[in-house]
């Protein structure tokens, strides 16, 4: 999966969890919490969605590594390489 595909998949997962977020407006390096009031439930739902989509284990301690679009892309890429 190319970096672009990866990013668009993650964006789709994000808007599944938060249907009221406009994917075009997402800033890659700003934390979701600061961009659109992501709360802990959104964060957990998002982690679940990432887990299901990429079949990667995500320990609870790693949740902060999914905090922004860029962090998330890096995290998934890293995990897939392992």
């Amino acid at each position: 999966m190319s970096a672009n595909d990866l990013q668009s998949t993650i964006l789709r997962l994000l808007t599944d969890v938060a249907p009221d977020v406009d994917p075009a407006s997402v800033q890659a390096d700003v934390d979701f919490r600061d961009q659109f009031d992501f709360d802990s439930m959104d964060q957990l739902n998002f982690a679940i969605a990432i887990h299901k989509a990429f079949s990667i284990p995500i320990p609870e301690a790693d949740y902060p590594k999914l905090a922004s679009l860029k962090k998330c892309v890096d995290y998934v890429e890293n995990k897939q390489r392992q």
């Binding site: 938060a18 659109f36 957990l44 982690a47 679940i48 320990p59 609870e60």
Partner: protein, 379 residues
Amino acid sequence: MSIEYCMPSLGADMEAATLVEWKIKPGDIVKRGDVVAVVETDKGAIDIEIYESGCVERLLVAPDTRVLVGAPLALIAGEPAAATTSAVPTAPALEPESKPEPAPTVAPAMHGHVKISPAARTRAHALNIDIDKVHGSGPGGVVTLQDIESAATKPKPSASDSMKAVIAAAMARSKREIPHYYLSTDVDYSATMTWLTRRNAELPIEQRMLPIVPLLRAIVLALKTTPDFNGYFKDNTYKPSDAIHLGVAIAQRGGGLIVPALLDAQDQTLAQLTGNLRDLVNRVRAGRLNNRELSEGTITLTSLGDGGVDSLSPVIYPPQVAIIGAGTVRERAWASEGKIDARPVLTLSLAADHRVSNGRSGAQFLARIRDYLQAPEKL
């Protein structure tokens, strides 16, 4: 005998809702609790249930019609055998094998009918404007094309604006009518956090629990022995509720706030609460809640844990009689047994209705919640 199925009240401040979709048609057999329609309220699209069992005789309202609370939506033949003695003379007698009558394409004039010109109605439909909210300037108050065009150029009040109005009304009423008293206590959350971290590490991600879930369970357990905080104060009387429908305040992006209830939380395990809370949040985000969830909460929990504040003094959601506020679980200096160390601490507060309970029972209630959280494995 025909029974009128009427627009239910989905909250103390709801006056009307717009019918979005029928889930039933004439001739269908419905039973109490079936979802029969979707309505759009200030709080979003909501599935509404029916309270009577029987056979659908006639749909009285077409989709896109705004209907006042208490106005009839459909006729239900309660007992098919007795259907010939219909209470509504114009309704055809229902025979079990009779063909369903098509739903009327326009709403009958008697309920919520707006006088509007055909051109204005057509234009309003094209512009997706709610004609009930347009002031009619034509002869006799008829809504004209110009009224629709003016309404279209005005900024449309967003759902969150009208929701804000609903919240404003409820909160103002609360502060006007309910003599609040406030208590708070700090809870050593280390036992819960340790237990939770260990448990979550073992579990697949879908089953992992947020720190709020043990708190939900602790509240439920505490309510079982302090019933003065779970129920409604109506008509100068407090009616405690056996069921615990635990309202959870959920902030919406864009400034809205919604308080759906985890229904029958008294019977739910931690795992069930985890799943049901996630389901509830997902449906809030998707705008699909049902009427009971929005109207039947018996107590509310509001958590500002994500907001970084330590404590809050919440406002009771009438006609409920208590609300619990939870701040951020944060490491703080904690003194116990003559020593000071750093522990995760949660400040819990209680706002309660002094007409129903008093400081002593409130303190007892908070203390019980705190105690339950010291032994999370027993929750």
